[in-house]
């Protein structure tokens, strides 16, 4: 299964309208587009540039600057492994390697079936419960290599 959706330009129009065609709300608009498609499709950005009347390159500059935005399709589930200092010393690199092995992808990539994306983050701010892994917004505290299959299994159906 692929997460590719046909780009529905009506929903894009609706998002832009909700933000009142305001150029200053570009980041909020991009976030809303990403919430719909799980990434920023090229077609949507081109249309957005026409709707907001800002050059396409400016939108691209913003979209590539922030890690939160992705120009390539993301998986249905996104696993984010914290690589902050506290998590790092407690074995986050090993946990990340285990995720890479289990999902058979490298960090920053998406599985072929479009189910999983693997990301890293510099710090989530909850160092006391590290090593932390976030899957679809759920925080998994005190993770270890042994817990990785359990975490993945909870989302695999």
């Amino acid at each position: 299964m692929s997460v590719h959706q046909t780009i529905n330009l009506d929903s894009l129009q609706e998002i832009v309208e909700r933000h009142g065609y305001n150029k200053n709300k570009l980041i909020a608009i991009l976030q809303d587009i990403q919430a719909v498609y799980h990434y920023l499709p090229a077609e949507a950005l081109k249309t957005l540039s026409k709707l907001l009347k800002i050059p396409l390159i400016d939108i691209i500059s913003v979209a590539t600057f922030y890690r939160a935005f992705s120009l390539t399709p993301k998986g249905r589930h996104v696993a984010t492994v914290c690589m902050g200092t506290a998590c790092h010393v407690r074995g986050a690199p090993k946990i990340l390697e285990e995720f890479e092995r289990q999902l058979n992808i490298r960090r920053g990539e998406t599985t072929e079936d479009g189910e999983w994306s693997l990301e890293t983050v510099a710090c989530l701010g909850c160092c006391a419960i590290g090593p932390v892994v976030v899957v679809d917004g759920d925080y998994h505290a005190h993770t270890s290599i042994r817990k990785v299959p359990t975490i993945l299994g909870r989302y695999r159906k």
Binding site: A42, L56, I57, D58, I60, S61, T64, F65
Partner: protein, 227 residues
């Protein structure tokens, strides 16, 4: 009129001038790379660094972006400025060693060693092409993408942009696009061939661009300096 001091000389600047403009008006040379008349100042290459203030509170600022202020004390040639400038040239050499403009700067300011790993990125991210495209050509076809060490200049999605009219303004203004002379030491990070001759062709034979001919055909760049 604003009164300020540059290198101990009292100068007058007009409202809205930068330090660089004031210094150039009085004939003081400050090297620049990312600055171009007709484009907005960017302050990216840091070659135009000058020292403002005096004593322990003196600090380095980019003169192309710093506005002239009343009573400002500027020094354009202190040891600190020269060292910072050399370091900037060295850093740019490591990124784009095949650029004639940067090699010329290295020879001109006596940079004879390059202590960094050669990265050969062929772009120093000075932003001249981006500003040229936007401000003079009204194109907005290219821009900065990504950030940090991955920062690059490209068109959207790295494809031919619809905005691009192939005017070539970006190539015209690019300091890294002009290849260096293929002189005796073409493989090294620093050429410095111009330093072996006297006088250097940089200052006197500006129009003689030997890269257009065979390597070292005119012979000036291989002549040994008389000691």
């Amino acid at each position: 009129m604003i009164t300020m001091k540059i290198n101990g000389v009292e100068v007058k600047a007009e409202e809205g001038w930068t330090i660089l403009e004031t210094a150039r008006f009085y004939g003081l040379e400050i090297p620049t790379l990312c600055h171009h008349e007709g484009l907005t100042p960017y302050g990216g290459c840091r070659l135009c660094l000058v020292e403002i203030g005096e004593g322990p509170r003196a600090k380095l600022v980019s003169s192309c972006t710093y506005p002239a202020e009343e009573g400002l004390v500027v020094h354009t040639d202190t040891k600190r400025v020269v060292q910072a400038r050399r370091m900037m040239i060295e850093l740019m050499l490591s990124v784009a060693p095949y650029s004639k403009v940067i090699q010329d700067l290295a020879s001109k300011f006596g940079v004879t060693r390059m202590r960094f790993k050669i990265r050969n990125e062929e772009c120093i991210l000075c932003g001249l092409c981006v500003r040229m495209c936007e401000e003079q050509m009204d194109g907005k076809a290219i821009g900065f993408q990504n950030r940090g060490y991955q920062r690059k200049i490209s068109t959207p999605f790295d494809l031919r942009s619809e905005e691009c009219r192939l005017c070539g303004g970006c190539i015209y203004i690019c300091p890294a696009c002009q290849l260096r002379c293929q002189g005796p030491q073409a493989e090294t990070a620093i050429c410095n061939a111009c330093l072996t001759m006297e006088p250097t062709c940089l200052d006197f034979y500006d129009e003689l661009q030997c890269w257009m001919y065979d390597a070292g055909r005119c012979g000036t760049c291989v002549r040994e300096k008389k000691s």
